[in-house]
Symmetry: C2
Subunit: 128 residues, 2 copies
DNA sequence: GCAATATTTCAACACTCGTTGAACTATTGA
DNA sequence: TCAATAGTTCAACGAGTGTTGAAATATTGC
């Protein structure tokens, strides 16, 4: 994946409205949602929603298909996964032990953010 | 994870400089890098780098540790994984078959990718 | 103490982004 | 054809972001 694409994806996901829309589409799966459904679900004015849907489609994170007078949007999950792969490429200096340690410390559904207590912990104090 | 945190993470990753810095730190692993090393590796002026490092640390994506007159930065990989989990929560209308289809053809680059398992098994389906 | 090194803060500027109402296009149903 | 519905485009404004040089802070070695 090219860096430019990853940047566009992250930029798209950095807006509250677009993040909500994308997650809604991810949860909708193949079925997707038409613009009106999205607008109703998220309580976003049509004008504004259209603006953000354009952003999501332009970076490839969503696709559109016309259905009569409706526009059906769907999440591009492969692109999302590609972007994640790009972000984690060659991680941990290619040391599998490091990766294992880091993953162990992170239950996939952690309720609290480990904001300022990250990898630094692994160095010096608790590890030999 | 709170939506606000995920937003800050994506916003942080939506800048070319910050994306480069974060990926560099991910690749550096536990060792991390001091600001000067990052500046040299990416050819970013110190003033500008400092600005972006602040952004990365404020959202929790990087940590700082003082080492004499140096500042050592490290990637917060658990936070990154939490964010990914947040993004993919309840995907595909909780239909495991959909997830399996979508994940097919996705590059399995980093050792981190297995952490995405919840995507495919959101509904307790044993697969593999 | 003093100079050199490493990094951050500050002020200023151009630039981009998000939101909104009004106007526009396209499709449906009568 | 006409009115209603679904959605997008446009113009404008305020707010936020990225970059830079100059100045400030902190640490090291002499």
């Amino acid at each position: 994946m090219e860096k430019a694409v990853a940047l566009q994806v992250f930029e798209a996901l950095s807006s509250p409205v677009r993040l909500d829309v994308f997650r809604l589409l991810v949860q909708a799966g193949r079925a997707g949602k038409v613009a009106g459904e999205i607008a109703e679900a998220l309580d976003v004015p049509p004008t504004n929603l259209s603006f953000h849907l354009k952003g999501l489609t332009q970076c490839g994170l969503a696709s559109v298909e016309q259905e009569g007078r409706y526009q059906r949007y769907r999440a591009n999950i492969p692109l999302m996964l590609d972007t994640i792969a790009f972000l984690t490429a060659n991680c941990c200096a290619d040391d599998p032990d490091e990766c294992a340690d880091l993953r162990r410390g992170t239950p996939a559904a952690a309720p609290f953010l480990p904001a300022l207590e990250p990898v630094a912990r692994a160095r010096g104090t608790s590890r030999s």
